[in-house]
Symmetry: C2
Subunit: 366 residues, 2 copies
């Protein structure tokens, strides 16, 4: 087996889990990260530097066979430059689109993928106009750099607009129709340069305070799965995509409305480590190396729960039979994702029993 | 979750797989190994030095909360010394017994665990006498440092004795009755200091040229499983054992005869990475940290195949659906274990179909 070296921009928990999945494949890893003690930094070589520094990105690229990223705040222009001599997957184009909610929504419109009504706003006046066109309640979001509910505000009525304008402090906003959805689901899908595609089953996501709290898979709904597949295919083909792509949907009135995409492995795919025959991390690596993709079919039912602020105590972790623990090696900080646990069982009901046992022992921060 | 640091004597594939299993538990690793490029060396800090150097072992011990080993050729006396200030599990006593086939067999006899007839020999004359008492064919083995069929010779008749004596070149030998066994099985079992015990199902081992080739689990036989449990309990209690213990048995006439024990994670437990709810590597770490042990029940049927000399080509590895690949990052060398693959499916028959497909694409060295 030829040894390949993968460069990862960002040594966060996603980079860490990629390295843990890729090491058994014989891969070696080089990370670019400003922090020595980033979660994945000790699992490979570290190029210490900021994500937006072209020299540091070049240094990373020169050491590896392929570059990928575990963070989205990498300048697409810099990735385009390094892609001239080292393959970068997913492509800078895909990242560039995902980095800006307006670009993202415009692409959905262009490809005929249903998405909530949206209107851009770059001034307080435009914000007023956009909100009244979308109707109340609606949501105003910064076009760039939002995640886990940050950079967005609900607008219940016109009176909320000025506060939102002041607190978001950006002239690059998008107002979106509020969707009274039944639930949120996501699709994690991998594609390689040969055009092979491997789709995970839909996962059902439950958020708390704007942050993913619980993710359950598989979420069986034949009609929605087929719709999700069609939407995903359009996006994958548009970008001639390689790597894992995650698409988050609202489910409303039996239809899917795409909320956003992430051109990377995703929190809503963590269940696949134990809950699928091949994890999203392994498939992402196989995809960017243009290797055949692995079996994405589920192994029973999985329920993943995020740990925010701090990990449960060791005694809690290991006294609950049936939960797999993933500690990211991060220091504690309010609302910070520091780890997750995954229960895998024969059925959703059995997962719920383990989760209830766990919840009886653990009082999470949120 | 408190961060703990585990010291591992030896950064071979077993240490590598321990680190891969322990990182998600929030553990950090320090290895002692003479080689910078040992399979696990890059997954933690490396103390560079020989396994038998007390200063190097002390340096390792001073950096960690608990010491374990992935090699057996560590002087038990040195481990006893470092155990005075840092816990060492499994204990030096268990290692000391396993290091010497005569000590091992004597313990089996002492505990009433059936084992093939054996007689020690320390001279050519004693070898003649021992062989004639055991009867032909029989097997002569070096008491120490044998593995994967090395350090042993078959004696078909008295004419073979002198050659064996010359080639083994040791005055510390043991002659063992040849057992015309039906099959070989092994039991991997974990115990922590609280006395909690977690047993994997029996695995069926097929060797080729003295080296484990294929391991299938679970091997269901209620009577043998019960016998194996009883034998294991005696050994675990004798040593007040902590960690994973592996016991290899011959199956003959519906009975178990213990062949040897390994006070460590074992090749015949690798299937548990994908094939059990908790891998032997995770359970070994939980056991030596005195944490509650994880569920050892199987997830379907597993068939593991060792790769010797070199890994299959990337194209072969990833074109076979249903095989999980583990490359140890070792350079190629004849007969060297450089990796393994594990098939997990609903049944043994389904595993066989995948293995046949794989075998049609891959011509192994042996």
């Amino acid at each position: 087996m030829k040894n390949r070296t993968v460069g990862i921009v960002g040594a966060g928990q996603l980079g860490r889990m990629m390295a843990l999945a890729g090491t058994p494949l014989g891969l070696e890893f080089v990370f670019l990260d400003p922090n020595d003690d980033a979660p994945g930094a000790h699992l490979g070589e570290l190029v210490k530097g900021p994500f937006d520094n072209l020299d540091a990105l070049q240094e990373l690229a020169n050491k590896v066979d392929v570059v990928t990223f575990d963070v989205e705040n990498v300048p697409a222009s810099a990735l385009r430059k390094i892609a001239q001599h080292t393959p970068v997957w997913p492509s800078a184009d895909a990242l560039n689109t995902a980095q800006d909610r307006l670009n993202e929504k415009s692409l959905f419109t262009q490809l005929g993928i249903p998405t909530p009504k949206y209107i851009a706003a770059s001034s307080l006046q435009e914000l007023h106009s956009a909100a009244s066109q979308c109707g109340f309640p609606c949501v105003v979001k910064a076009r760039r750099l939002g995640y886990d509910g940050r950079g967005q505000r609900f607008l219940h009525s016109p009176e909320d607009i000025e506060d939102a304008w002041d607190s978001l402090n950006s002239d690059s906003l998008i107002v979106e129709e509020f969707v009274n959805f039944d639930c949120e689901v996501s699709l994690v899908v991998a594609r390689n340069q040969n055009g092979d595609v491997a789709r995970y089953p839909l996962a059902l996501n439950t958020h708390k305070n704007g942050i993913l709290h619980i993710c359950e898979a598989p979420y069986y709904d034949d009609k929605l799965s087929q719709l999700a597949k069609e939407h995903a295919d359009k996006l994958l083909n548009h970008f001639n995509y390689a790597g894992v792509l995650t698409i988050e949907f609202f489910v409303a009135h039996g239809q899917l409305l795409v909320n956003e995409i992430a051109p990377r492995v995703h929190n809503s795919g963590h269940w696949s480590i134990e809950g699928a025959h091949t994890s999203q991390f392994e498939n992402h690596l196989r995809a960017i190396l243009n290797w055949p993709l692995g079996d994405t079919s589920p192994r029973g039912h999985s329920t993943m729960v995020n740990f925010l602020g701090g990990m449960p105590a060791v005694e809690t972790c290991f006294s609950v039979q049936g939960m797999h623990y993933h500690c990211y090696g991060k220091s504690n900080r309010p609302s910070r994702k520091v780890g997750h646990g995954t229960i895998v069982a024969e059925s959703r009901e059995q997962c719920d029993i383990v989760l209830e046992h766990f919840n009886s022992l653990y009082q999470p921060e949120l």
